[in-house]
Symmetry: C2
Subunit: 685 residues, 2 copies
């Protein structure tokens, strides 16, 4: 568990601190000395004295009690130092910068485990090894630059990669992004990204803690912990954006060669982020742009006023917003006329509100006031103001800053003239403001934030399952595909409606079954896995003679042990699936059957447990949703029943986590009901 000694130590020792500031041990010491750390700072260096002017000891044994130890010595020397510090110096927090551990060799992995064992035994916490360190407004225990501006309401940033953490800061700082804390977790030997997030959640204090969390991660080792604490933080009003890289197959290979990360399958990551309410980013610029959006008041609606003194960027911003689900609505308020009178001839208040190249600071203030107070249809303002380089625009940016303080609606500053009014932009940033230099990059990010759902709330179960029956079937099952009758038992126990079906293996039984089910029927072989491919499915059999002829033929198909008879139902073909995905638990899938799943890959996924509301959301996200809703006068599918089946399959997987893979395909959906026609379930214990 992350502890106070790591975050706000009274004393720090740099083991391996030196005078060479081109090496980690020297640079971390320099950063600590240059920074704001106010406690005791010690150095251990057997060969030098008074390193960089700090109190220097020959060995860790010579040290007094010390809260936090930062190690920058060769891997093989780390365990002994850690032991001495943990056992004899009361050290409860460790940052190990050194590489050469499990990312490099088996011997390194052994050293790493030894260190973790020592620290665990002494109830301490460990960041690293193989990391750049930790910094916040108490100390800057990192060996890299830049050191950002710290602000309690700035970004809490956790990174699984040290260099990437540096590059992400370099992407955000020039535009004014500030930080509250930065954690580089390196090999995550003890504390990983998820543990840091847990700490931020458990120590969150409304009004005192930052509301913005950023994450860069290459592998998610503790998905449940991440989901729990991300959802919890967001429910408290925080906002979280994350890059999980390695989304492509080649990218996963790349990630695997880095820090020994094993990439989690990407669909599960996507589903987890959606469920938690985390905004997923693809790169550094997007992450820092979204962090910058998070540093503004929350966008509460989709209607944006684009305020500009130049047409082009306003048009591009309007395009990207309205092509991505946000609105730039025409302003219809009668008070628009009052505003127009305050602007120069030729201005427009239609939205974009264009007050021309000659527009003044005073006019900008008037426009913002109107959007804040008069135009109820507006939820937020994007202000585009650059310069062709004729005169300074300090006055404009001062008004902008003042209005941002006064207004409740978010105001996003888009200041494109990073050359022409560089000084004015710097003065604006110095006030704690953030600039979005490119309106389209901003607009795409804003839409992404707006379109990311809130954390899923699991609704109370409105249905019950026969848990005992399910456990009995699964406990008795062996690994592999369940027999059809066992599949039926599970579906019945889970409350998934299914087509009546009978399995027969003699002509006489076939005739009896036909009499019970009635015509037309569907006949399927029992035994072969890919039934269609071996000619093992016959549809629409309407008489006994045909049925018996097909029975004879089908029983001869390889691996066939019996024939299954079902009524020939009609309706829209649907699909529900589930798949065990390691530590992530079960992914639940839904979609339309046939070409929709096979050709168009129109499937949505959710991470179990999926309640009724999330199931509806999964259905609504299908590209072919309109077909379920009943497009062009066609019969709709009973969506409530479909959603309930999705939720029941999720509940089934919770009761029977041994379900490794399961497909109900097809289900047939009509206005009245949704019925499972065929299903396969594979058990892996």
């Amino acid at each position: 568990m992350i502890n106070e000694q790591l975050i706000n130590p009274k004393s720090i020792v740099v083991v391996g601190g030196s005078d060479d500031i081109q090496k980690p041990g020297g640079k971390v010491l320099k950063n600590l000395l240059d920074g704001c750390f106010a406690g005791d700072l010690f150095v251990v260096n057997p060969k030098a004295e008074n390193v960089q002017g700090a109190k220097t000891f020959k060995s860790v044994e010579d040290l007094p009690q010390v809260d936090l130890a930062i190690l920058a010595i060769a891997a093989k020397f780390c365990p002994a130092s850690v032991r001495e510090l943990a056992e004899n110096k009361g050290t409860k927090a460790f940052i190990i910068l050194s590489a050469g551990f499990h990312e490099e060799s088996e011997e390194g992995a052994r050293l790493e485990q030894e260190i973790v064992d020592i620290i665990n035994a002494n109830n301490g916490c460990l960041i690293g090894p193989n990391c750049v360190g930790v910094m916040n407004s108490n100390h800057q225990g990192v060996f890299t630059t830049p050191i950002p501006k710290f602000d309690p309401m700035g970004v809490d940033f956790i990174s699984g990669s040290g260099a990437t953490a540096v590059f992400i800061m370099e992407s955000g700082i020039p535009n004014g992004l500030t930080f509250s804390s930065v954690y580089s977790v390196g090999n995550s030997a003890q504390m990983g990204v998820e543990d840091v997030l847990k700490y931020l959640d458990e120590t969150y204090v409304e009004g005192k803690s930052s509301k913005v969390k950023l994450i860069y991660v290459e592998s998610i080792n503790k998905p449940e912990m991440l989901l729990k604490h991300a959802s919890s933080l967001i429910s408290k009003g925080c906002r979280i954006a994350a890059v999980k890289s390695g989304s492509s197959e080649a990218g996963s290979r790349a990630a695997s060669s880095h820090t020994g990360a094993l990439a989690s399958p990407d669909v599960a990551v996507e589903a987890l982020f959606r469920k938690a309410g985390i905004v997923r980013c693809g790169g550094r610029q997007e992450l820092s742009t979204i962090a910058s959006i998070f540093m503004h008041p929350e966008l509460k609606g989709k209607n944006i006023a684009v305020i500009t003194h130049a047409g082009g960027p306003a048009v591009m911003l309007t395009d990207v917003l309205s092509n991505n689900g946000l609105n730039v609505p025409p302003i219809t308020s009668p008070k628009a006329k009052n505003l127009l009178e305050k602007l120069f001839a030729g201005s427009s208040v239609a939205n974009p509100i264009d007050f021309l190249a000659t527009g003044t600071a005073q006019q900008l203030g008037d426009i913002i006031d109107a959007c804040e107070n008069d135009f109820d249809e507006i939820d937020a303002m994007a202000v585009i103001f650059g310069s062709p380089g004729l005169f300074p625009v300090y006055d404009v940016y001062e008004v902008l800053d003042r209005k941002m303080k006064e207004c409740k609606k978010p105001i996003y500053p888009i200041l494109p003239s990073v050359i022409n009014v560089k000084d004015e932009i710097e003065a604006f940033l110095a006030k704690g403001r953030i600039n979005f230099p490119d309106e389209v990059v901003f607009g795409a990010a804003l839409a992404k934030v707006y379109n990311t759902p809130k954390p899923a709330v699991l609704d109370a179960d409105s249905y019950s399952l026969d848990v005992a029956k399910i456990r009995k079937v699964v406990d008795e099952a062996e690994n592999g595909y369940l027999l059809p009758e066992k599949v039926q038992e599970l579906l019945d126990a889970a409350g998934v409606p299914r087509a009546k079906e009978m399995v027969v293996d003699t002509p006489a039984a076939c005739v009896a079954a036909l009499n019970e089910i009635g015509y037309p029927v569907v006949m399927k072989v029992v035994g072969p896995v890919h039934k269609s491919d071996v000619g093992g499915v016959v549809l629409n059999v309407t008489d006994q003679e045909t049925a018996l002829k097909e029975f004879e033929r089908m029983m001869k198909i390889k691996d066939t042990t019996a024939i299954l008879l079902q009524p020939m139902l009609s309706g829209t073909q649907l699909f529900v699936g589930a798949k065990q995905e390691g530590d992530f638990g079960h992914l639940i899938f839904c979609g339309l059957g046939g070409i929709f799943i096979e050709v168009l890959k129109d499937v949505t996924a959710g991470l179990a447990p999926i309640g009724i509301n999330e199931a509806h959301d999964m259905i609504h996200r299908l590209k072919s949703y309109k077909i379920i809703a009943g497009a062009r006068g066609q019969e709709p599918v009973n969506e409530d029943q479909y959603a309930e089946i999705i939720a029941r399959v999720s509940a089934l997987c919770k009761v029977a986590p041994e379900i490794f893979e399961m497909d109900i395909n097809p289900l047939l959906g009509t206005r009245d009901k949704v019925v499972a026609v065929d299903a396969r379930i594979r058990i892996e214990k």
Copy 2:
């Protein structure tokens, strides 16, 4: 026509030049004086002498002969000055910076037309009014900053918006983008973006002219000219990227309120750009990133080596490349082993090639050499090299610059540490290099460039149309929907195969037709436009009794004049459409019918003329293409015939441009043939 006097004048007058450099007239003069213009520079100002030290005249009448006039005086004074200059001073080129013309009022529009008439009558050329000017390596006739670095091989940049031109330069210059020329065309009263492109095409000299063209435009007024000269330039080896803003409905409204632009429908723009081979961009950063890619050697294949000293950015770059159609292939060359021996332990040459945080300049050189010479599977290299801030990296960037000179394969520098090694990056840019600070922004742009097809080459027609017959039908037609028999005549004349059909209006004729066509048949009402909606379509009629009963019923449907009988065909439902799109000509559409067009909107568009190859490309771009190709053992559609029908519809529209709208829906496609079953054609003369 753009002329030499605009591009490389011997003399320039600034009419309205002043000492106030916060005004356009003063600033343009300052830019000209500060810049490299080597000819005679005059000022006209009735109130001041010796303005900014330049030779100053009280009025235009006093001027000697002058090649280029730049006007920064009130709109109402412009016509008289232009007349004097054009008629008496031999001035052949005009740049009018002033606003207050057709973008503002009817009176302004009149003034603008008067000026154009004068200049046309004197065979001159006009840039503007309402623009920021023109600049190149001969003169900097603009009233804005920044003035970029000029290089004959830099970017030729044409912008329909002055402020946007400034902001685009401000986006590209900090990363090292250089320019060959910049044109701000303002109101495009005489010369528009298209005319400038025409000039660049007609004066293109291999080896002397820049190969990179950028365009920002809010409305395309001369689509044919743009298509012709963009295709031509690209065929000569040039590369063109463009932003056409106003792609959304709201964005079009925004564009309309700016420079009086009327946005063209966006599908037509998309189709035109694709046909021309123009890379379409959505914003300033994307445009300048793609321009920066264009400044490197052409990417000839899809296999990229990602070379890095830090894992994270390499993984993100690999993700974005491989998720967008490019490859980061494993390196399998036996020579990879030799390379690995030159790197530090723990490095990887699997691709990404990771030479670790400790990697040296020498090692980078070795890696690049191996990719250039030994690894045949590699088409280009992306080199990621930042810094955690411990020591300078001048040596690395020097090797990078040297290798970029030596290598034939493109090398893209991704230098993320814009803070830590700012000075080193500046030194690198000073050598004429360009930096891509964000690997994901770069990767998305590279994929977009790679995925943009070359200009379409219209293949020779392999089929003929009965032009005389088509013209006869169209000439005789009135505006509105053609009668079914006329539609049939056009399809026959265009060589589009169609289902046999007969139109009957008595029961006796119905019986005769049934005997000729055979069963089963389809029956449709003639008259109503939306036949299905009024119950006017009956499928699969298998006997005479049913047919006659339906005949009686259907004849009573409102507006019905007769019943059409067709054989009941089977096959995959396809769709071909055409629509007149103003100056763009005809858009041709294809797709699958039914839900594919109605629910999934899976339609591709091309700009006529569409040859066989482009038609195949349209078919291949369908998301549902696999169904046409025969997914999961289903019968495929005869793609050659389908493509030919698309091309024939395009050819029909060329012969009969009065076709305002036309649908063939459905066509039924089988392995053997594709047959039109129903069609509507609307004529607008």
